[in-house]
């Protein structure tokens, strides 16, 4: 009894896939299901008797002022940071590829540099840049005679989110710039040449050639960037402000963490996790839908 070539191939492929699949299910799918499951319980995360309470955690969430404030702060960052990051990255990328700068390679490295620093290093670096007395920002303002404008950027509820947004943009812009540069390099130079002969300006070329040709890459980076804000903001906020002053820089991830690990409210924290999951997925779907190139 000889097996056919096809069955044998099938067996071989299955044998190769199974270990990976098992690991995937065990470490990705199973924990995710657990999060959904535990979000329906009242559970301290220590004791072993979770109590089923249905959707109560989700109801509580929308009566929890701190959560709503954290949600608003996160929303602000998710709106401001991706837009500015991608815009800056796109402009830089196009400047660096389209102009005949001699230091092109140097700028490329310098702009990319923040992306290879760990988030913790970035956060510590910027908390010293914003340091109220010896920080670079305030010292700089004083040097150019604007000493009155100096303030404790991270200590004031009116400026803290913008200060964090600048850090997040600085950290990520170089990374997306490199992605866009690779994309621009693959656009045929003929297009630029031809349009140049027809009298198109650099700005027109940017809007009518660069952006449309990069569109697929831009779509992906929008989703990356939104989700990036969600995860990176946790580290940045924990180190730079600890959610302060008075929770005005609390983000959902830091709130989730504090509910789970300092308030022993695991079930509630999981419910917040589920909510973030749903928001992330729907944002990704929405942005995918909105940026889809239709019939035009």
């Amino acid at each position: 009894m000889k097996m056919t070539m096809k069955t044998r191939r099938g067996f071989f492929i299955a044998a190769c896939l199974i270990p990976g699949l098992i690991l995937f299910f065990l470490f990705k799918v199973y924990p995710t299901i657990q999060i959904f499951h535990k979000s329906l319980y009242l559970w301290t995360g220590v004791g072993d008797k979770p109590k089923f309470i249905g959707l109560q955690n989700f109801v509580d969430m929308f009566h929890d002022d701190t959560f709503l404030l954290a949600l608003r702060n996160t929303g602000f960052l998710m709106l401001v940071v991706p837009v500015l990051t991608l815009l800056i990255a796109l402009i830089n990328a196009s400047l660096l590829t389209q102009t005949k700068l001699k230091e092109k390679g140097f700028y490329r490295t310098v702009f990319f540099f923040p992306s290879i620093l760990s988030f913790v290093v970035v956060a510590i670096l910027w908390s010293f840049i914003y340091h109220p007395t010896m920080g670079f920002v305030n010292a700089g303002l004083e040097m150019i005679g604007l000493g009155d404008w100096a303030m404790s950027w991270l200590g004031d509820q009116r400026t803290v989110l913008w200060a964090l947004a600048v850090t997040l943009i600085w950290q990520a812009a170089g990374y997306y710039m490199v992605m866009y540069m690779a994309g621009i390099d693959s656009i045929s130079p003929d297009l630029y040449e031809a349009s140049g002969l027809d009298g198109a300006t650099r700005v027109q070329q940017f809007f009518h050639i660069t952006i449309p040709m990069l569109w697929e890459i831009i779509r992906v980076t929008i989703i990356f960037s939104i989700n990036g804000v969600m995860t990176i903001s946790f580290v940045i906020v924990s180190i730079m402000t600890a959610g302060g002053p008075d929770r005005h820089s609390e983000v959902v991830m830091t709130y989730l963490y504090s509910q789970a690990f300092t308030n022993s409210n695991f079930g509630y924290a999981m419910a917040i996790g589920v909510f973030i999951f749903i928001v992330s997925v729907s944002l990704a779907l929405i942005s995918n839908k909105l940026t889809e190139r239709g019939s035009n």
Binding site: M3, R8, F11, F12, A15, C16, I18, P19, I22, L23, L26, L42, T44, G45, V46, G47, D48, K49, I53, D60, D64, T66, F67, S127, Y130, H131, P132, T133, S152, W153, L154, G155, D156, Q157, T241, A242, G243, G244, P245, D246, R247, S258, Q259, F261, T262, N263, S264, N265, G267, Y268
Partner: protein, 472 residues
């Protein structure tokens, strides 16, 4: 051919299984303090006529600034005095992360010493779950040296306080370990050379703004990102104005506290710090603890709140010339009242599901023996919450730290307390709710009256949750 395929499948699943096994196995970096002893279940240890059926004890300890040397040594001594017993010590700075999975699995260590802000929440969880062993009998029984009950040796007030007796029913669930003293610090050299006298009352304290200016600094700074440090001024002040009664209101969530005169007086000091000229160091609110403490030591501010660990914590930090640590605790409100300070006691527990509570209790008692107090001072450079411990530790700790402990011995009244547990599942963390908005008071974006109204509502809600929780 067929045979070979089969082998591939087996090989790949073996890889998978071994990976899984790697993850499932116990994260056990325990150090067997005794290399030889491998106790058999039948061998029973005996000492002082006591028999223990189970001779193995699993101990989990926090390995922080005090290190683990004390625990390794005391375990060896214990095994010598109780032949046949075996102690396994697991020590880590992140001890809560190591024990959490074991507790969830219903297999906790027999004895735990938990400290450090990253780890303490697990104790809070165990309290909420009522998952600790009642230790009252240990403290009611005679101490290791015999004679009076052990509780008479413990620092007064500690066992009665909520940090030992979390449910307020007089039963001890958390045994005290090292204690620290917290309050305001100043640069002693500056005060001595300039002839500034240490403020006895908050009025004198606030009057020093001008003196501070003459010396090129501001009056006060604190660990801005972590306003919780302000409790070291707030709690003693509450006691100073309203006595134990006000403190009970505060810690037991009586909403009326936020309408009381005590509240207005104590928070009035904070408001004055926020509003008066040259009082709060510029930028304080945005500084983390290290940044604020460094600024203080460099002479940018005259006072800062912190605890007895201060000197050790900042031993490598830059400082102004001649800087010397001085401790004053918290000033009173009237000159006839003594200065106060807050104490903080570290905790040791035996989980309710411990496999060997009997031996764990014996081990706990052993830790309060004279020999152990001395060993702890020598190895951890720390002071156990036992009467007379500062003098035993004197030769091992720095002079200024010893002076703080001595000041407590000689007149500074100490307060100690902790919030009652909120209802299980409550979203409120009392300490966060109370101290975090103080940043806004300091920023002059929130008045003390608005703040009081807000806290009144929060305390009312916490009470409501507790009532509903109790009704279930």
């Amino acid at each position: 051919m067929k045979h070979k395929k089969w082998l591939t499948t087996v090989a790949s699943s073996v890889v998978a299984v071994s990976l899984l096994a790697g993850c499932g196995s116990n994260n056990n970096n325990s150090n067997n303090a005794s290399p030889s002893a491998s106790p058999s279940a039948s061998a029973s240890a005996s000492a002082g006529g006591k028999q223990f059926e189970n001779t193995e004890l699993n101990v989990a300890v926090f390995q922080g600034g005090y290190g683990r040397e004390y625990w390794d040594t005391i375990a060896e001594d214990f095994m010598k005095d109780y032949p046949g017993t075996k102690i396994n010590i697991t020590a880590s700075p992140k001890i809560a992360e190591l024990v959490r999975p074991k507790i969830v699995a219903g297999n906790p260590p027999d004895f735990m010493y938990i400290a450090g802000s990253d780890n303490l929440p697990i104790i809070d969880g165990l309290i909420k779950d009522k998952a600790l062993t009642d230790l009252s009998d240990v403290f009611n029984s005679p101490s290791e040296e015999g004679g009076a009950p052990l509780k008479d040796r413990i620092l007064p007030g500690v066992l009665e306080s909520r940090s030992s007796s979390p449910y307020g029913d007089g039963k001890v669930f958390l045994a005290p370990y090292n204690y620290g003293v917290m309050g305001l610090w100043y640069n002693k050299t500056l005060f001595d050379t300039k002839g500034i006298s240490v403020p006895k009352t908050w009025d004198e304290f606030l009057a020093l703004t001008a003196t501070a200016k003459d010396n090129g600094r501001e009056l006060f700074t604190y660990q801005g990102l972590y306003p919780g440090y302000l409790e070291e001024m707030v709690v003693p002040s509450i006691y100073s104005v309203g006595g134990q009664e006000a403190l009970d209101q505060y810690f037991n969530f009586d909403p009326e506290f936020w309408k009381s005169d005590t509240f207005k007086q104590v928070w009035g000091v904070l408001e004055k710090v926020a509003t008066e000229d040259n009082a709060l160091m510029k930028g304080t609110i945005a500084l983390n603890h290290t940044q604020a403490q460094t600024a203080f030591m460099q002479g940018k501010a005259m006072f800062i709140p912190n605890g007895t660990w201060f000197e050790d914590e900042m031993k490598d930090a830059p400082r102004e010339e001649g800087f010397q640590f001085g401790f004053l605790g918290a000033p009173a409100f009237t000159a006839d009242k003594p200065a106060m300070a807050m104490t903080n006691v570290e905790q040791m527990v035996i989980p309710a599901k411990a496999k060997n509570p009997e031996l764990a209790k014996e081990f706990l008692k052993y830790l309060y023996s004279d020999k152990s107090v001395k060993l702890n001072a020598e190895k951890s450079k720390a002071v156990l919450a036992v009467k007379g411990a500062p003098d035993i530790a004197k030769e091992f700790i720095s002079e200024s730290t010893y002076n703080v402990y001595k000041a407590v011995d000689e007149g500074i009244v100490t307060v100690n307390g902790a919030f009652k547990s909120v209802a299980k599942g409550s979203k409120y963390n009392p300490s966060d709710e109370i101290y975090k908005p103080i940043s806004s008071i300091m920023n002059k974006q929130l008045t003390v009256a608005e703040y009081g109204d807000k806290l009144f509502k929060i305390y009312t809600n916490i009470q409501k949750e507790l009532k509903e929780n109790g009704a279930e």
